[in-house]
């Protein structure tokens, strides 16, 4: 079984790496935290385009989003017309959708957190999750060196036994010189690869240099994908808490 081999190798690697503290800076924790904060900041506001391709349809959404800290975020669909105004509010671990067509707000039940967000390959949980990788996972640098023509650092993360994490393993590949993410592979609880997120189009936006395009491909349906492109983004601007309220959601 390849998965079992992978587990064993990963576990041995982790054990070896934990035993001998990494001498090189930055540490795995610093890299993880940087990855966590890459798209967040104190606050953020911007627009993005989300293109979803499945076996049966393709659609493109324009979305305006706001976030404040890890706890609050709001996303509102700007286009297409049919879904304009549909919005998602997240406060702490709760999530609501506003549906302008029926003029109602509905709360997403916890049982639906694993379902697709707006038909994409992101789950509601991806949007709600606010804990830091470094808190939920045991992690270690599992590879450094050249891979696919680039110098990379690979961090393998295994969930802590009591962490509320749906993945069995997460492997993050960062570009060695910039510490920017290249690829994140998510494995399910049986340690089979579930989805792969790749990062591209590194450019300076909102005062940061970062990948502005993320592509997520489910491993069981390689012909499907969700591509998120940040069109514009600004960080650390003053946003009022009242923006992240049910009242504001319905506006």
């Amino acid at each position: 079984m390849p998965t079992r081999t992978t587990t064993t190798v990963a576990a041995l690697t982790l054990a070896a790496l934990c035993a001998a503290p990494a001498a090189a800076a930055p540490s795995a924790r610093e890299l993880l935290d940087r990855f966590d904060d890459l798209y967040r900041g104190e606050s953020a506001h911007g627009t993005m385009t989300m293109k979803v391709t499945t076996a049966h349809w393709t659609r493109e959404l324009k979305i305006e989003f706001w976030s404040k800290g890890r706890e609050r975020s709001l996303a509102r669909i700007l286009a297409p017309t049919k879904e304009k105004g549909t919005a998602t509010l997240k406060v702490d671990n709760d999530m609501w959708n506003f549906l302008p067509k029926v003029d109602r707000v509905i709360k997403i039940p916890s049982s639906m957190m694993g379902d697709a967000w707006m038909g994409s390959h992101f789950t509601n949980d991806d949007l709600v999750k606010e804990s830091r990788m470094a808190d939920d996972f045991t992690f270690a640098i599992s590879f450094t060196g050249a891979r696919d023509g680039r110098e990379v650092v690979e961090i393998t993360c295994l969930p802590k036994p009591d962490a509320a994490v749906v993945w069995g393993k997460v492997v993050i590949e960062l570009e060695a010189k910039s510490d920017l993410p290249l690829r994140v592979r998510y494995f399910d609880e049986d340690l089979a690869e579930a989805r792969v997120m790749t990062f591209a189009n590194v450019r300076a936006v909102g005062g940061r240099t970062m990948p502005t395009q993320m592509t997520i491909v489910p491993s069981d349906k390689p012909s499907e994908s969700t591509v998120v492109t940040y069109d514009q983004i600004r960080f650390d601007l003053p946003l009022d808490d009242s923006l992240f309220s049910l009242r504001a959601l319905q506006r």
Binding site: W57, V102, K107, G119
Partner: protein, 405 residues
Amino acid sequence: MSPLHLAWRNLARNRGRTAITGAAVALSTTLLVVTFALTEGMLNQLVDSITKHLVGHVQLHAPGYRAERSLYAAIAAPGALVAAAEAEGLRAAPRTYGFGLLSHGTKSAGATFIGVDPAREKATFELWRQLAAGDFFTAERRGQVILGSRLARSLNVGVGDELVAIVQAADGSLGNELYRVGAVLRSVGESLDRGAALLLAADFDQLFLTGDVAHEIALTAPDRPLDEVTTLAAALAPDAEAKSWRQLMPAISDMLEMSRALMFLFGAIFFLAAAIGVLNTMLMATHDRVRELGVIKAIGATPLRIIVEVTTEGLLLALIATLLGGALGAALSLWLESHPLDLAAFSGSGFSFSGLVWDTLWYAKLLPSHVVAAVAPMWVASVAAALYPAVKAARLDPVKAMTHV
């Protein structure tokens, strides 16, 4: 005098003994027939309770639908198929299935949306009778949903309350509509109770944008053999998958087969007890006559003649008794077909187990084979019971037999 004539005269002469033995055989036959008919009735009712609400006898699906439950694995333009099935004398109900979220106030719950054709559901199935509150759909009353009992409870809604449905439509967009609760189902089985939200096929299409499709066509033909209906359905829809309810619900089908085997095992044990009773009565009756048989032998009857005579007598008695008993059993069973036993005293309001609901009224279902299965072994038992003492008597020394006490 022929053995038959002799046997008849012997039986007529010992009225008391004949009456007791005959009554034992007749009563056993009656009870056996009724037991078989009640067993058959129970199994029939179990099958009915599985098939009559929604499942039907045979279902048609697009290939691959059952594994994936995908919105896209559907039978296109099901109208022609439904018409063809109806032309063959089957009843057909096309349905569409989709998954999504229902919400009322602060409560939300996942639901299985089932788009139905109300006229056909009503003509074919009995789910519409199983309403705890509200009315079944009419084609004109759009914008209503009928909820499973537990789904209604978890959303905390009753008839007339407003619901928001949110689903991923067939084009990937976020389908959302407002509905009112038109009715709430009684408990009819785990999966429907927990997740079912029935709506008109037209409303389903508006929500899911599926167009003119069906994910399932449920067929019924109560009076035709299941295999025949399955074959017919497969022939009507060569591009679809035709599965009988036994193939769709193998666990429940196996359980039913198991209970059938168990029931007939009980029947066999009961028969054994009845046969031993008959055997005993016949043995005693013949034993009584050892002296008499000794006399007959002494005046020149051959052993064979004695055996023939005694067994003929046993057979004649069995024929008459089983005729009466079988007729009585059949009559009682037929009566129980329209006058069911009421088990309410034992179980309250009926019981449900793994998706099947059984009401408290227990109807019998008599088949000709039940009468045969009760009567024929009785003959064998009676003859066998007569044979043993007859052989014994035939081998007796007449003097000893005559002095036998």
